[in-house]
């Protein structure tokens, strides 16, 4: 940390940045940026924190005003293809996802949640104000706190997704502004929106949680992680050659580390190529490091940007990776989801979960939040593995209330080894009021991704010591036991069509229906208020005129 002479006691904060580049087996390139700020302070106590240095003030004020204990927000464009790309370091569903644990001092969680979503909507220039009670749920088991804290009363947890949310430069710019160096120095100079959004997958997230500073957890500090995952496509025009460089991916090279960062590193995953047969990296480096991540021990070439020697004589770093050949791998846990059925009346949601471990079975928690206008019938829920019924050991189901809250289904399912488990549930599509449809009603309605959380058995022993110095990408999810690691898989969002009324007809419908009711009223009114009388035939027109003239003359009529 750079010593800054001042008479005010310095808040003890620390900033680290890192970039992990992993060549994927399909030929794509996965780049994961993580920026972490650790700050030993207490937002919760009465003294208002006013001297912000590395920690962004807007987020600090959000934490103290809304008594937030943990906040996780992600914006994703595209869908992570687990089968081709393996597991991401930080999974996220398409669209926007927000889940927050509040402190137990909050009395009105729903009101605070509403205000928080509106404030975050302003901070990130996203339409998070569309989060309301119709798409918010309180999962009972799937989203346990990732930081310290032993409060597990899920009344203080709120989870919402907006699968329809688009991510663009407008969201990236305020995200970059939260970084201590902005986008002027360090790894953040690579974040140019023109290249970043020209990719197969782009996800930016902000995670705030309290963590322990040391082993005994005597002091706690607040951790802010800003992560950005991006996958570049091999077949993007101009990238026909099997060769990647920082300049080609980001149209920039690196010239210096962020001066405020205590550590600034680039990791290139060379596990699949220890002898340099599949690809070669230049400029070469002798710094190697090993880390346990996603149940596997992986080897990385490290480039330390705080060392001037990394930049060489040209004073800029442009990493180059040249391919030689390719191979394939299968992830242990993988899921798919689709809608079956035809017509606009009913349908069926099928979720398939694949367990590719050869001999171990493990339990997974499936969380499904389905909007209220797809009425689920829970008695049609079936879970089958390998053709046989597989009864879940824990089901938490909260039925929806029209226009108030969505369905919440959480299940604990044991996945047998080397098998596919299929979860099906039938639903009925509702007809909404004409004002409740979006301007493009025939596009369909989005159903947020299902979340599958599980502790997957790992091949190597995981490191449970959370305070040891580790690269950021392997220290996100807390590790409680050595034999397994925590993984979260998001399925595809669904697009479902609903029957639509004719939007051009409100006045016509009102008139026609009121006419029918009036026909009923009129006939019954006639029969109730009139009585039968003998009809006297009325004389012809000539006679009537003659009678009128006669009356005027005072003469008796014809």
């Amino acid at each position: 940390m750079m010593p800054v002479p001042s008479s005010v006691p310095q808040p003890k904060d620390d900033f680290q940045e890192e970039l992990v580049i992993r060549p994927l087996h399909s030929g794509d390139i996965y780049a994961s940026f993580q920026f972490r700020t650790l700050w030993e302070t207490d937002f919760m106590r009465g003294n208002k924190v006013s001297h912000y240095r590395l920690f962004p003030k807007s987020l600090g004020q959000v934490i103290s005003k809304f008594s937030v204990r943990e906040l996780h927000i992600s914006f994703t464009q595209g869908y992570w293809r687990t089968m081709q790309w393996g597991q991401p370091f930080l999974p996220s569903p398409p669209g926007a996802e927000l889940w927050v644990w509040f402190q137990d001092s909050v009395t009105d969680v729903d009101g605070t949640w509403k205000e928080l979503t509106n404030v975050l909507s302003g901070i990130f220039c996203a339409s998070l104000n569309f989060i309301d009670s119709t798409n918010t749920v309180q999962p009972s088991a799937s989203f346990k706190p990732l930081g310290i804290g032993n409060v597990t009363d899920h009344r203080f947890l709120r989870y919402a997704t907006l699968p329809r949310e688009i991510v663009c430069t407008e969201n990236l710019t305020p995200w970059k502004k939260l970084l201590p160096c902005g986008s002027k120095a360090g790894l953040a100079v690579l974040l140019k929106s023109e290249k970043l959004f020209h990719s197969s997958f782009h996800s930016q997230a902000v995670h705030i949680r309290p963590v322990c500073q040391d082993w005994q957890c005597k002091t706690t500090s607040w951790e802010l992680r800003q992560t950005l995952n991006v996958v570049f496509d091999l077949h993007t025009p101009g990238q026909g050659k099997l060769e990647w460089s920082l300049f080609k991916m980001f149209s920039r090279t690196l010239t210096e580390a962020c001066p405020l960062a205590s550590s600034s590193k680039i990791y290139i995953d060379i596990t699949d190529d220890p002898q340099g047969e599949q690809f070669e990296v230049s400029p070469a480096t002798h710094l190697l490091s090993q880390a346990m991540v996603l149940g596997d021990r992986r080897t990385f070439s490290v480039y330390d940007l705080t060392q001037q020697i990394t930049f060489g004589t040209v004073r800029s770093l442009n990493l180059l990776i040249r391919w030689k050949s390719r191979d394939m791998l299968r992830p242990l846990l993988h899921a798919e989801r689709y809608v079956a059925g035809y017509g606009l009346q009913t349908g069926e949601i099928h979720t398939l979960m694949y367990n590719n471990h050869p001999y171990r079975s493990f339990p997974v928690l499936l969380l499904d939040s389905v909007p209220w206008y797809l009425r689920l019938y829970i008695h049609t829920l079936t879970v089958t593995s390998k053709g046989k019924d597989n009864k879940p050991s824990y089901i938490h189901y909260q039925p929806s209330k029209d226009r108030v809250r969505p369905h919440l289904l959480e299940m604990l399912v044991q996945l047998p080894p080397n098998s596919v488990t299929e979860v099906t549930v039938q639903f009925e599509r509702a007809l909404l009021k004409w004002t409740e449809y979006t301007p493009d009603p025939n596009h369909g309605f989005y159903v947020g991704s299902s979340v599958i959380s599980s502790l997957v058995p790992s091949i190597v022993a995981m490191d449970t010591n959370s305070t040891r110095e580790q690269p950021l990408f392997s220290s996100f999810f807390p590790c409680k036991e050595e034999s397994s690691y925590f993984m979260r898989v998001y399925t595809e969002p669904l697009l479902v069509n609903l029957p639509t009324p004719d939007f051009s007809m409100p006045y016509n419908v009102i008139c026609l229906t009121c006419t029918v009711v009036a026909v009923g009223y009129g006939s019954l009114y006639n029969l109730l208020t009139r009585s039968f009388q003998i009809e006297e035939p009325s004389p012809g027109l000539a006679k009537r005129i003659a009678n009128i003239i006669r009356k005027m003359r005072g003469v008796p009529p014809l």
Partner: protein
Amino acid sequence: MAAPLTLLLLVAVTVRAALYRSSLADLISERVEVVSPLTAWKRVVEGLALLDLGVSPYSGDVFHETPLIIYLFHFLVDYAEITFMLADVITAVALYLSVKDYNKQVFRKQKYALEADRYPLDCLELIRSPKEMQYIPLKVAMFYLLNPFTILSCVAKSTCGLNNAVIALFVLSTIKGNSRTHSSPAEGNSIYPLTLCAAALLYLLQRQYIPVNLRRFSFWWFVAQYAFMYLGSLFVIVGLSFFLLGSWDFLPSVYGFILSVPDLTPNIGLFWYFFAEMFEHFRLFFLCVFQINVFFYTVPLSIKLKEHPVFLIFMQLAVISIFKSYPTVGDIALYMAFLPVWSHLHRFLRNIFLVSCVLLACSALFPVLWHLWIYAGSANSNFYYAITLLFNVAQILLVSDYFYAFLRREHHLSHGLYLKRKDGSEATLVLK
């Protein structure tokens, strides 16, 4: 009479059992014309499944039956088909017995009127004979049991069949004059049969020979007794419903649902598309208008038909079936079962051919246009809505036609059949 009735019941049960065993049963239980969010069997099963999961069925928006249905089907869910067939049989037998009793009373009143010489001489052909009235109860039972609407409703296991059974038992106990068994379970499952209590009250007054005179004490005393008994049984039913789940959640879920119409699933009624296209500002206003419309005809009809309470029951049932918030074909089948009772009015009916053609055509077009909208995607909701409108107009015409014929016959019975004008030529009757 027992033998033909038994034969009819056997045929009806056979037809239903055959349809249960066929693949049509699943298809029919999905049809929106036959089941509604209030009466669908799928939702009853869902409610029972939620109860098994430990969640209250009324915490969501899928189950809208009273807790009495949970009581009943908690034990009978495996025998559901037999329950619904039995409900149809009970309805038919109740209607048979009540129409038989009613005919006896009609004939007795007619005999007294003839002896008192109250009918003009030329309307003797309007007098009804026992011979023509002999087969009417059987025809009523047949109209109910073999009506395709009833069969569809039974095969779909729509709880409308249970509602109809309860209403039929209510009518039976009214006509038998047995005020001890006379209660308000009809009120239990939906609020609209409330309007039938006025008709039942008038019938019981007539049976006890208490004239409907607002100044007399005996009238008010009887009304008070009846109201007390009716409200008492209503409280018993609501209290029983409360004690099942120990909460009042079912009140907004059942009665609040019927009155506020939040679910806009298409059906054969007028409410769904009207409120799907309603401007938000006017929603409450039109909701009140439409709901009042159902109850509003009670007082005028009771005043006009105070001498003929059974026809009033028929009119009320028809008005409820047409204008209720979630009608199904099972409701229509109930009031159509009464039509043979008024078969002597056929010479005064004016539109019966048009109405029956329209009803047949609409019944055939409903599934076609639904398929075109929901499955083929080549029509839109307006097509289905148009057929809904036409179907309801036809029903309104049918009901008002019978009302016209009834009133006209009454007029002829007091003024003579062949009317002459002042100059002796044949007269025409109009409503003025």
